[in-house]
Amino acid sequence: MNSTDHNIREYFKNEVDELLFQGLEFDDRMKNEILRHAMTNQMSSPRIERSKFDWRRLLLVSVAAAAIAVMILADDTFFGSPGEPAGGSRTLIDRVEHGANEGIGGTLNDPPTILKGEDLPGLLSATDGTTWLPATVEEAALSFGGGLMLPRAVPDGFELRQIRATGPENGTSDTLEFQYDKEGAGSFQWSAHKQEIAEPVNNDKQVDLNGTVGYIGPPDDDPDHQNTGIQLRWHVDGVQYKLRGNLLEDEALSFAEQFKAP
């Protein structure tokens, strides 16, 4: 900073203090109010969290019980059907090991599957906690709690293949990842992660997503843009959204623009 800059700073600060910020001081009233809010927040949080946890656990147990009941009723060999040749139909254990979870970790109609977080590469960065596969978008949204925005449509030809959730307890989540693919056109995924502060961006381009600031650029693991992948980030109400994959910039922007609260 040269002497001209020093002079500019000195004059600018004096003028701003006098005209823009005259009498604008952080006082004890504000301080006490914030401390009161912080203490209230601290005291009420455990109660709210406990309430959410119990409710969701109940929901998860119900879903799992219903799924097991369906599997038992659908499988004749569980009751040892006398007219059926032995081995003609798969046992319950066979179904679990080979049948129902075929494909990429189970279809969206399967019951939730509990997995180890560290075994799942991808957008999910929080490996502490449990990672599991919600069976439906609704179940995933429920586990996330309020504040999650969802896309109203997906790009032409793409289909939702998998949902992964990571959270402190089974049935609750603070990170969700939705993976889509299209035959011959690759895949893309978007994630939502609860965090109060938006991720810092490097050289990404700022874009307007219907009034929300977004940043688009190459994926974090491809900073030189060697591949065709794209990454778009935006932050709304304490949730960091990230879209990544084989999409054109226009497709990514269109997809992100139609996210809305359910």
């Binding site: 952080f26 109060e196 600031v213």
Partner: protein, 183 residues
């Protein structure tokens, strides 16, 4: 610029979130309030935004890794709170527009403020610059943040911050030369 108590990085603040909150408010309360006012243009909205910023800081204190100064971190939270509240409106608004001065005091006080504004050496020229230069000038000259810290606080690439600051200086210099204030 460290806080009044000389605290700068996370390690020099208490580990306990409640104590850290008090220390942050003591050191940077006015800076946060003024930054919120810079964006919101209204004292009451600025107080609301400051309150929300400090509550967010309190809730995230334990997960803050200290990879930037507490001042930069608090500034980033404040900017995010204001952006959440304003959406993209802030990007197109003249943040230092004289019409936004002294919101709470219209009538004769406003006239007086405009007269004083017209007599300023720097502020009236800054207000004439395109809005996207106001942010970088405010953080660089008023808040005394480096270009890197501005980049971290506003989520803007550092190269963009440098470019805007360079161009803002050029434009400001042209205005000041016309008035014979600099060679």
């Amino acid at each position: 610029m460290a806080g009044p108590a000389g605290r700068f990085d996370k390690l020099s603040f208490p580990e306990n979130p409640s104590q850290a909150l008090e220390a942050m408010m003591t050191d940077y309360g006015t800076a946060v309030l003024r930054t919120a006012h810079f964006y919101m243009g209204d004292r009451h909205l600025a107080e609301d935004a400051s309150q929300e910023a400090f509550i967010r800081a309190y809730r995230n204190w334990s997960s803050f890794r200290g990879d930037c100064s507490v001042k930069t971190w608090l500034t980033r939270i404040t900017v995010n709170v204001c952006r959440d509240k304003l959406g993209l409106k802030m990007a197109s608004e003249q943040l230092m527009d004289p019409q936004l001065l002294q919101h709470a005091e219209r009538d004769s006080a406003e006239d007086e403020a405009l007269v004083r504004y017209s007599r300023t050496l720097i502020l009236k020229h800054v207000a004439k610059l395109p809005p996207h230069y106001h942010e970088v000038i405010y953080f660089y000259y008023y808040m005394e943040l480096s270009t890197r810290e501005i980049a971290e606080a506003t989520g803007t690439p550092e190269g963009t911050v440098r470019g805007r600051l360079h161009r803002a200086r050029e434009l400001l210099g042209e205005h000041l030369k016309k008035e014979g204030l600099v060679q």
